[in-house]
Symmetry: C2
Subunit: 280 residues, 2 copies
């Protein structure tokens, strides 16, 4: 293996943007890419975004590998790649849910190979290499979820790549990560999807165009990729169900305040939410 | 009374912006203003936004009056003003809930005085005359909710003012209006407030800053004025409770799909929401 070579498996929005961000940067590693979409792979090679288009075996020969494929495919891929990598190599990913992936990938990694979970908080509503951009991670946060089994050296190697791409890096326990994201990302998506369903299944024809600002902006996240969100909800199922249960209680409280015409209670409820929100 | 004079009661964000939008427009009526905030009234008079600062009695002497005060104060004010207006005069408002206001204001209006409900779909997170802008209504929609008791002439007089301010005007039955807005505005606010509460009451300290885009944008509407939203929820209580009940069912369906690990069901649920949202 080459200790300095970076392999990117999956040159979609995330993997493609990472490769583009490193292109021409001083001290950047040589980047090898792999993608099942041959046309995108050719595009990345032609414009010099990657130095070589290779197979899974080629990727496994790199000293640092970032797997950037949809969550549902990543567990299997991480297991296969991790087994083939050489001692001293480091494997990481870019999935939105971490506990299961970290457990599986660390268990499957070959001797001397370290897996460090990663989650770049960046993205757009588009996907694929044509949507990739060298500035996607600029000023964004990448969360790494190392465990006690990781060495400081392995974590720093992953950190270095994301920092070079313009992101700041935070470390978080994988379980804490999944708990936090159940609340700040997965629950909001669930809530928005259910909201759009409520309007869609209305008996009377509601002229949605009238809502212009509010409803449209609010439900924008319900336009996210259904396939990806199906996988996220299932991979983080336990935390998502707990967050939904908690949310239901807060909604029921609001509903009972409206039912009981409790003006003081409503004012306190909305006031507390406003203070919390304004403090973000 | 003067048939062409326009009285604006409440020179806050909505009333102030209406006065500013009409200022200097060809064919615009003379505008008299009334506001309990004397400093704002003086500001409006000094810069020529209104021709005269007057009392409630002065407002009632105008041929067309727009009441732009918070919903909770408007029913009482509309009753008082409507009683004092001269035959042939037209009264309208700018409240976000219509059925109750239309019923009360039409019942209280003096002989020959018509009330036509209005709801400009415009606003910012700020309020008061200093936040007012001449372009607030430009390209926005104003919904009028006339009833069988209104003449075409009265409706057209109200329409003319809003069109002059740059808005397009739609007509809707007051009950339909409240049903539609329960779904596209009041329910989303309820849902966002409950979401912020879920995060705020978390046992573990959730670092909200991480959520950057999604959560922040999604919960922006939970920063709206608590006093105003308390009043809206209570004034449209019946429709809001029905919409909440409907929403709860859709959320419970999603929750059961996650609990049963129903991948196909989740894909269909998210896919349908995406198609609905993309069609807006």
């Amino acid at each position: 293996m080459s200790g300095t070579r970076l392999g990117i498996l999956g040159l979609g929005l995330i993997g493609g943007s990472l490769a583009l961000a490193l292109k021409g940067k001083r001290g950047a590693p040589e980047v090898w890419g792999c993608d099942k979409n041959r046309e995108h792979l050719r595009m990345a090679l032609r414009d010099g975004t990657i130095a070589r288009a290779c197979t899974e075996a080629g990727i496994a020969s790199c000293g640092l590998v970032v797997v950037c494929v949809p969550v549902v495919r990543s567990v299997g891929l991480l297991r296969r790649i991790g087994k083939r990598m050489a001692p001293g190599a480091v494997l990481t990913d870019a999935g939105s849910v971490k506990s299961e992936i970290v457990r599986e990938a660390q268990a499957a990694a070959g001797p001397g190979v370290e897996f460090v979970g990663g989650h770049p908080i960046a993205g757009t509503e588009n996907s694929g290499f044509p949507a990739a951009s060298p500035s996607l991670f600029k000023g964004k946060t990448v969360i790494l979820t190392p465990t006690g089994g990781n060495t400081g050296e392995a974590i720093r190697r992953v950190e270095r790549i994301w920092k070079m791409a313009g992101a700041r890096v935070l470390r978080m326990d994988p379980g804490v990560h999944d708990h936090v994201f159940a609340y700040v990302s997965h629950l909001p998506h669930a809530v928005a999807y259910a909201l759009v369903h409520s309007v869609a299944t209305l008996d009377s024809k509601v002229p949605l165009g009238y809502s212009a600002g509010g409803f449209r902006d609010f439900t924008r996240i319900a336009s996210s990729n259904p396939e990806m969100w199906k996988d996220i909800m299932l991979q983080n199922r336990g935390e998502v169900l707990r967050a939904l249960r908690h949310y239901r209680k807060n909604l029921a409280l609001l509903e009972s305040l409206v039912r009981r015409k409790d003006a003081g209670g409503l004012l306190a409820y909305f006031g507390k939410a406003k203070r919390t929100r304004d403090g973000l």
